[in-house]
């Protein structure tokens, strides 16, 4: 079976600093991967390299077997590689309904249509309603995004990503800024995603990571130092060193 996403020896330097240093990883349908690592490990840079927001110095990105390293980010999205942003990027004068509808229309290829109104299309409105309902945004659907709370804006980010029906979904800290009471909405939404889909999530909320992920990748100083099952990650010596520095050794010795 071909991998949905295949990242081969990615390298990116900022000045003299190797922010991504020879990183390779692959994701198959159904993968639920958590990408973790200390601050400054290069997680967001890695996501940006995969999505095409940054160009790598070396290495390749393959999407369903096709080399997309030279493709622009929008073209990668059209091939099924969708991301959410660490800090929300939304259209503040538009409503949640319009956001999700635009994403649905874009996926269908009718977002460039110069006449008609999405609200008259029953199928579109039904799908929009379902997605908004799933993330608990139904009551806010006709408010302007600038009028809704930040946690709800984060949920809308995920709603838009879902509406694009990706093959590979990259979530950059989806739960950051979402109140505890609302994180279960995110989890339920993630659970409901198609099993055909591969999901990569960055997050600092370890409870969320362990409930969600079937596989964990740890990035430190631009290099993958662990790629394996969640239950093994806390026992790994290099991971302990990366997070705890020299105290890790002191801890095991004691």
């Amino acid at each position: 079976m071909t991998n949905l996403l295949d990242v081969q020896s990615l390298r990116k330097n900022f000045g003299g600093l190797a922010v991504t240093n020879n990183v390779s990883m692959a994701m198959a349908p159904g993968d639920r991967v958590a990408l973790i690592g200390p601050n400054g490990a290069g997680k967001t840079t890695f996501i940006n390299l995969v999505t095409g927001n940054l160009q790598p110095d070396e290495g390749r990105v393959l999407l369903v077997g096709e080399d997309v390293t030279e493709r622009k980010s929008a073209e990668r999205v059209r091939r099924g590689l969708v991301r959410s942003f660490q800090v929300t990027r939304l259209f503040y004068d538009m409503t949640p309904e319009e956001h999700v509808a635009l994403a649905v229309l874009q996926r269908e290829g009718t977002a460039g249509q110069m006449f008609g109104h999405y609200a008259r299309r029953m199928a579109v409105m039904e799908e929009v309603g379902e997605i908004l309902d799933q993330l608990g945004l139904t009551e806010l659907r006709t408010l302007k995004v600038r009028e809704i709370a930040y946690g709800q804006q984060r949920l809308l980010e995920i709603a838009m990503a879902m509406a694009l029906k990706p093959k590979v979904l990259l979530l950059d800290e989806p739960a950051a800024g979402v109140p505890q009471s609302e994180t279960n909405r995110i989890e339920r939404a993630l659970d409901s995603l198609s099993p055909e889909l591969a999901v990569l999530m960055i997050d600092h909320d370890m409870d969320l990571v362990f409930r969600f992920a079937t596989r964990v990748i740890v990035l430190a100083a631009g290099t993958i130092i662990f790629d394996g099952l969640p239950k093994d990650v806390t026992q790994d010596q290099r991971v302990r060193e990366a997070y705890l520095g020299s105290y890790a050794n002191a801890g095991t010795a004691a």
């Binding site: 999505t51 927001n53 622009k72 980010s73 929008a74 073209e75 999205v77 059209r78 969708v82 991301r83 942003f85 990027r89 939304l90 259209f91 503040y92 004068d93 538009m94 319009e98 509808a101 635009l102 994403a103 229309l105 874009q106 996926r107 009718t110 977002a111 460039g112 249509q113 110069m114 006449f115 008609g116 109104h117 999405y118 609200a119 008259r120 299309r121 029953m122 409105m125 039904e126 929009v128 309603g129 309902d133 608990g136 139904t138 009551e139 659907r141 006709t142 838009m160 694009l164």
Partner: protein, 335 residues
């Protein structure tokens, strides 16, 4: 915890809402106010016709500035291209059928929109603004140099449009021209109203707010704005053609920086990002200009400048936006 589906999707809109959404109300307003003008100032229909032509230019700026967020000071290039295209077709090739001339103006404007869009969208921010100013100067210099075609600084005259449908002759008082202008404006207005409410219009608003987000949805912001530039050029081109047909001359001032800047001022005065704002701004500005600029062009320039500063400081949403806000506040306050 789960919120019940409070708002079921309502794909069928009420008739009243459809009426306002599709701009039928706007068309009605255009026709009523237009006809009022016809009866109130029957001796100055030429001015009213010119207002309509410029209103098309201002609407076309609104498409790229108001809906896509591109600040441009060179949009008269699109208007002038339409005017010269229609004028040259009539004066040099004998194409004097008014509807055909309008169509030629539309195509000329759309081509100019494509060219200047390709140039201007190469850069962002200050560089983009510089490009837009350079484009209008370049068009101006080119038209000046190609005087064999354009008449240079003397202007292009000898434009003699046929009667519309062979029946309605362009009369000395400009009645036919004015009615034709009003009908053109009404048609364009409905088309634009559909456009800005369409998925594409929504996409354009998205580009204005966050182009990177648009790319993350798989759409190309550049392609959206470029398409809008071509449409904008078509609208401005119709305006230019109308100006050529009604005045029967095309001058270099239709390709000037001043016209570009003034049209932007009209848009801002009325309210950026709204078709109604564009229309209101044009009418108010041009009526003022007609009464005030006759005295001394420099006084007029001072007034325009002061007006701009005042709008920026006190009414950044323009007349229409500010009016809406005030009306909203009054409505909310229980009397």
């Amino acid at each position: 915890m789960a919120v019940p589906m409070a708002h079921q999707p309502k794909p069928t809109l009420s008739i009243g809402k459809r009426f306002t959404d599709n701009g039928l109300l706007g068309v009605l307003a255009i026709l009523i106010i237009g006809l009022l003008g016809y009866f109130l100032v029957p001796n100055n229909l030429a001015l009213l016709t010119q207002i309509v032509a410029i209103a098309l230019l201002v609407l076309s700026i609104d498409l790229v500035t108001g809906y896509c967020g591109v600040a441009t000071l060179g949009h008269a290039a699109l208007f002038g291209a339409g005017a010269y295209a229609a004028g040259i077709a009539a004066a040099h090739f004998g194409v004097t059928e008014p509807l055909t001339m309008t169509l030629i103006g539309l195509v000329g404007g759309a081509l100019a929109g494509l060219v200047s869009g390709l140039v201007i969208l190469r850069a962002h921010g200050l560089a983009q603004l510089v490009l837009s100013i350079a484009v209008i100067h370049l068009f101006h210099e080119a038209a000046n140099k190609a005087s064999g075609w354009t008449g240079g600084s003397d202007g292009l005259s000898a434009i003699m449009p046929d009667p519309i449908f062979g029946m309605f002759e362009f009369d000395l008082w400009g009645r036919t021209a004015y009615v034709y202008a009003l009908l053109l404006l009404a048609v364009v207005f409905v088309a634009l109203r559909l456009l800005v409410r369409s998925p594409f219009g929504m996409l354009a608003r998205g580009v204005r707010e966050d182009p990177i987000r648009i790319a993350a949805m798989g759409a190309s912001a550049h392609s959206v704005v470029l398409r809008m530039y071509v449409i904008s050029g078509a609208v401005a081109g119709i305006g230019g053609a109308l100006s050529a047909i009604s005045t029967q001359v095309v001058g270099l001032d239709s390709l000037s920086f001043t016209l570009s800047a003034e049209a932007l001022v009209m848009l801002v005065l009325g309210g950026v990002g709204s078709l109604y704002g564009a229309l209101i701004g044009t009418v108010v500005f041009m009526l003022f200009e007609d009464t005030l600029s006759a005295a001394n062009p420099f006084h007029w320039l001072t007034i325009v400048g002061a007006l701009l500063i005042a709008v920026v400081l006190f009414a950044p949403k323009g007349l229409y936006g500010t009016g809406l806000a005030v009306a909203g506040r009054l409505k909310r306050r229980p009397s």
